[in-house]
Symmetry: C2
Subunit: 308 residues, 2 copies
Amino acid sequence: MIVQNKIAVGIDIGGTNTVLGLVDQHGNILFRDLVKTTDFPDPQNFISVISERIKSLLNSGDLQLEGIGIGAPNGNYFNGTIEFAPNLKWKGIVPLVNIFKEHFDVPVFLTNDANAAAMGEKIYGGAKEMKDFIFITLGTGVGSGIVTNGQLVYGHDGFAGEIGHVIVDFNGRPCGCGRKGCLETYCSAGGIVTTMNELIQQEGIEGKEWTSKSIYEAAMKGDTLAIHTFEITGEILGKALANSVAYTSPEAIFLFGGLAQAGELIFEPTKQFLEDNLLEIYKGKVKLLSSSLPEADAAILGASALVW
Amino acid sequence: MIVQNKIAVGIDIGGTNTVLGLVDQHGNILFRDLVKTTDFPDPQNFISVISERIKSLLNSGDLQLEGIGIGAPNGNYFNGTIEFAPNLKWKGIVPLVNIFKEHFDVPVFLTNDANAAAMGEKIYGGAKEMKDFIFITLGTGVGSGIVTNGQLVYGHDGFAGEIGHVIVDFNGRPCGCGRKGCLETYCSAGGIVTTMNELIQQEGIEGKEWTSKSIYEAAMKGDTLAIHTFEITGEILGKALANSVAYTSPEAIFLFGGLAQAGELIFEPTKQFLEDNLLEIYKGKVKLLSSSLPEADAAILGASALVW
């Protein structure tokens, strides 16, 4: 008798690229592939090509496909649809799961990318033993996945967990969502650039073109404005997370993404303002942790985690 | 064969009074009783007296006791303890469930009063068919219970769902919790009195002693400052609830308690500011509803609902 390796496919659909991988139950990625999302104005055609790639990868080994997990912007778990995703060419509502099921006879799961990453942390990462945690992605945008009672919170409509669009200042910075003062406008890559530019303007110093990366490098070299930018960002993030704790009282909050990789520069002020602003009963109970998912593979791992 | 009525005991422990009732599966309260909490400096003695009362009520009918549910300030579901409740004479950690189990051989459940009321809404009230909703109590304090995936969210430590202590203004009013600007400082009975007094002071009008009830009565008679007080309260509540939706994306938010009984005076502005401040994907999806639990019996019903 031949024992086959049980495999989940993880697919992460991004505005530019779609990455996919074959993942075993321990979180090892056996095979990977990449497709340019922008090459496919038609989702039917996109899924046909992806499916062919997956089938040929499956033939490479003695593998038993258990299911397919997909992370995508505005991915809806209940409907299996991508709905009005601003960063994708496919407009309106795309019945992604149903189209995949025309190609595969296994369960297919879809959710948004941050929810998928939260499940990656639960299945393969630092949240294995946790039933209640919050996962925050700090990148181009700010996303989140909330786990309570061991389950991802999808909410009534499948779109729960948008902590990046919690408003922290109703008179604050304009947000891409059309409102003002969302957490994302302060704690995303673009948000910290805006904060740095504001500080520079206040100081009357001549400006240059900053990126989140160059602010990080300047801070590491001791630039006081760059360090202060991280402090301000950590203050806003820490206070927002202190409020988040009052909702679901998590054991830990995981930070993931570019900004999280700035290490102590962002963790130290965030931790301080989180702890200082917690309601008494929560003080000293909530861990602020760095995600243990490898940056490059988190999207594939997260998507595949939906299957197990 | 005699068919016995299945019964849950619901106990609501308050700072002044403790009420209890025998409740059937349809939410009918068959018998009630009341004990003054303040008469008992010792919780052991308190529970002995309560237990005797329950046993004599049970003897009044052909009743089969299925379990006991208790709502209490700072009640911890996981530990079965009341922990450091500021409004009770019993200091420190009281192992309430264990003491009850010395008197009864049935399951005993404990949680805080707002969580219990949320379960009351789910088992007997307007949330029967709902898997995702938020229940807000607007009274002396502001409490909440959050239900996701059909389950009450207890969080890692059993203390989740403190929306009354979400900070809406970090430089705002001092709160009893030691911090500043908690939702409770604006949307509790005391909060609206403070708002009314602030408006009166701004206008330079001679003050009088207001209560939440007299503000309601003034508003109903057309007093513009009293009406404006409700508008301000609804704006703060509506904006806070718009942020709440970004966490758990509920089907409905239920308002309960004294302030909720002000009807359109509070519902109209709250609904408007909730809807106006929702992230696009949530707009038009979230119902703002009045709790269907009868004010006088909600505490007993909620506590008993923990049993079913």
